[in-house]
Symmetry: C2
Subunit: 240 residues, 2 copies
């Protein structure tokens, strides 16, 4: 841990997986709706495929297969497809839109709010998510996330890991890249941040993907400036 972090003034966080436990939250909402409709299915697969639809959507935007659209829109598109496939019928469009906003109602990991609250005393804390701003603001209200600033791909009409998002966030904050740290549980996000000159904080979230085939990142390389086991540990290591 020889990297100089003394000039870090702001920490911006990946959100899905890093701050909130999207899989448990989504699984719970889907299971409840399916139960009400009396439909059987593998709702863990449903949840993972819903999430995958969003991830693929950001890739389609980055490869210019389609123009920029909000995460909310990608979620709704994929939800309709999956509901058809799983035979979930009987919901009004209003109810489907409400279900789609399950992504606005994700539950934070147990240490997230405490860690962010501590970090906020020393640093500017913000989001740097591929979720749209409306989604992030609603989630913050729901989960009590005390952001100083909400930012994401939407602000720059692109998606991580495009450099435009990292550089755009640094500029919007009015800092230099080395004054901003990205905190995330996904190494690919952090390596992209590092390649743009930002500092990197790795927080291990071993349970993000539950019992699916996806594997959480467990250890980084020399591009990681600080590694923490959770947000409280990150706060401690950052002197907050």
């Amino acid at each position: 841990m020889t990297s100089d972090l003394s000039q870090v003034k702001a920490i911006v966080f990946d959100v899905f997986g890093t701050v909130v436990d999207w899989r448990s939250s989504i699984l719970q909402e889907i299971t409840a709706v399916a139960g009400r409709l009396g439909v059987q299915g593998n709702w863990e697969d449903f949840s993972d495929r819903w999430r995958a639809g969003y991830y693929e959507g950001t890739k389609d935007v980055l490869s210019q297969k389609r123009t920029w659209i909000k995460a909310d829109t990608m979620h709704l598109e994929r939800l309709h497809l999956l509901m058809d496939e799983y035979g979930m019928t009987g919901l009004s469009e209003e109810e489907i839109v409400h279900l789609n906003k399950a992504w606005h109602r994700l539950t934070p990991w147990p240490d997230s709010v405490e860690g962010l609250t501590r970090l906020k005393k020393k640093f500017i804390i913000g989001t740097l998510s591929n979720g749209n701003n409306g989604l992030l603001v609603h989630m913050a209200k729901h989960a009590g996330l005390p952001w100083d600033i909400v930012m994401g791909g939407e602000n720059f009409q692109s998606y991580k890991p495009d450099s435009k998002v990292y550089i755009g966030a640094v500029d919007l904050l009015g800092y230099q890249p080395h004054e901003v740290m990205v905190a995330a549980s996904h190494l690919s996000d952090l390596y992209a941040a590092k390649s743009n000159g930002l500092k990197t904080g790795f927080v291990v979230r071993p349970d993000e993907f539950g019992n699916s085939e996806m594997q959480a990142d467990l250890v980084g390389d020399e591009r990681i400036d600080v590694s923490a086991k959770d947000f409280v540990d990150l706060a401690r290591k950052m002197g907050a």
Copy 2:
């Protein structure tokens, strides 16, 4: 007061003058620095002209006399000119940059934090300022302003009263124009918001301009959906 405000979900606020008392704060900082340097001058005029430089800068951007620049940059340009004119010498560039950030350290009106805290329980509350995001975030830290989202002209590379700013904010929040209210003490801001379909909340700030020649707006016309004497009154009138 017959306008239907039942669908308002977010209230976005003008900041300088509406939320914070820029003139008293700036006057105090300038007077302190001048005293330390032993320079005499009319520091009220200095403050008003500093503020005017920023206002003129936004107009120059809107008329395409110059490309978009941050409020921080406009403030610094005008500060240098005024310091020369008033014979304020002896500050290092670092000290001048610190003085320029007096605009990050403005004091809220006595009712602002209480009113915003109440409004935040019922609405999404955000900024919609011509100040840059970094300035707004630092100010929120300094003054304890509990924003859900920080937005301003910078997000849309323009300045109020350009429609792009109002429409951009509505889109970033993911709402329709009639679901968003702009709250401001300046009628010109509110009339522009109204012409773009947003709702309008007028808060009277009779003391914004102190004893200068500038006159505060005291009463609006039918384009104003709700008028309040301060933020606590606005919260009450909005049912928060």
